[in-house]
């Protein structure tokens, strides 16, 4: 079996770090997706509603405002969240790409002597 060189160790370190990161980012993505969907639902709901006045959550309070104000506010927040979500997704993709490259290198070098899969 090929002995582990310092360069290999560094690649293994990077892989184990990325593995930790990818789980974190994945979780982050899911929470952001949920929030984004909640905003979308709220906007759909507003579309249908006939109420003149609604309440929007700001911080820890519910602020009373007109439908137009509510839509404007929610659209703004939704846009922010969408950008945020897109950049998080891009990060995740980048991490996964690098992991794949490291994986193929390490498997080529150590074969079945190394296990890089989830338990």
């Amino acid at each position: 079996m090929a002995d582990v060189l310092w360069e290999d160790q560094q690649r293994i370190n990077r892989f184990s770090y990325l593995n930790m990161r990818s789980k974190e980012i994945d979780l982050d993505c899911k929470t952001k997706e949920e929030k984004f969907n909640a905003l979308q639902d709220a906007l759909d709901e507003l579309e249908l509603s006939m109420e003149g006045s609604v309440r929007v959550m700001i911080g820890e309070c519910l602020i009373q405002c007109t439908e137009e104000e509510a839509i404007e506010r929610l659209e703004k927040v939704k846009d922010q969240k969408r950008h945020d979500l897109e950049s998080t997704r891009a990060q995740l993709e980048e991490v996964q790409k690098e992991m794949l490259a490291l994986k193929s290198y390490l498997y080529a070098r150590f074969g079945t002597n190394i296990n890089l899969e989830e338990d």
Partner: protein, 176 residues
């Protein structure tokens, strides 16, 4: 005897780094397989302990961030709203009530320890933004340390398995 397994590192929190054993047979003949494995495992549990502590403080920090951003969002809204407000606010877990908030230039911030202080909108924003960036910096440095620790833990694991494999090889050789 203590084997030189860790060394000072460039980590800003002065966490020592573990050495990478370049030449396992040489290192083993110098210090003995058994004691290397014992001391590596000891070092490994120290790193693991530190990692658990940092993960805890990371949780606390990540829980704090939304509180600050919520407060900041509210202050920003107060600044932008140039009229008297009608709002519902939470009195306790299962109870909300209505409040009329007349237009004003000040807002009171809960500082903790049973203290609430009144600030102008600008000062409140400034303070909250400072707190937010402080919490973000603390979180960043915790993440940096966690990355560093993860590296040390991985090197430890690889060291242990290489020394262990070598010990198996030695025993098979001696048996022949």
């Amino acid at each position: 005897m203590s084997i030189p397994l860790s060394q000072p590192s460039s980590n800003p929190r002065k966490i020592p780094s573990v050495i990478f054993i370049e030449n396992v047979p040489e290192f083993s003949s110098q210090y003995g397989v058994e004691s290397i494995l014992n001391q590596l495992n000891e070092l490994y549990s120290k790193y693991k302990f530190m990692e658990a502590q940092l993960l805890r403080s990371k949780q606390v920090l990540t829980a704090k961030l939304p509180d600050i951003t919520n407060a900041l969002e509210t202050v920003n809204y107060l600044v932008s709203a140039d009229k008297d407000l009608v709002l519902d606010f939470q009195l306790s877990d299962a109870l909300w009530t209505k409040a009329e908030v007349p237009r004003s230039n000040t807002v009171a911030l809960w500082l903790g320890a049973n203290v609430m202080l009144e600030y102008s909108h600008e000062e409140a924003k400034e303070l909250l933004e400072k707190n937010l960036s402080g919490a973000q910096t603390a979180l960043d440095s915790t993440n940096e340390d966690l990355k560093f620790l993860k590296e040390q833990i991985t090197v430890c694991e690889v060291n242990v398995s290489r020394v262990y494999n070598y010990s198996v090889y030695l025993r098979q050789h001696q048996a022949k």
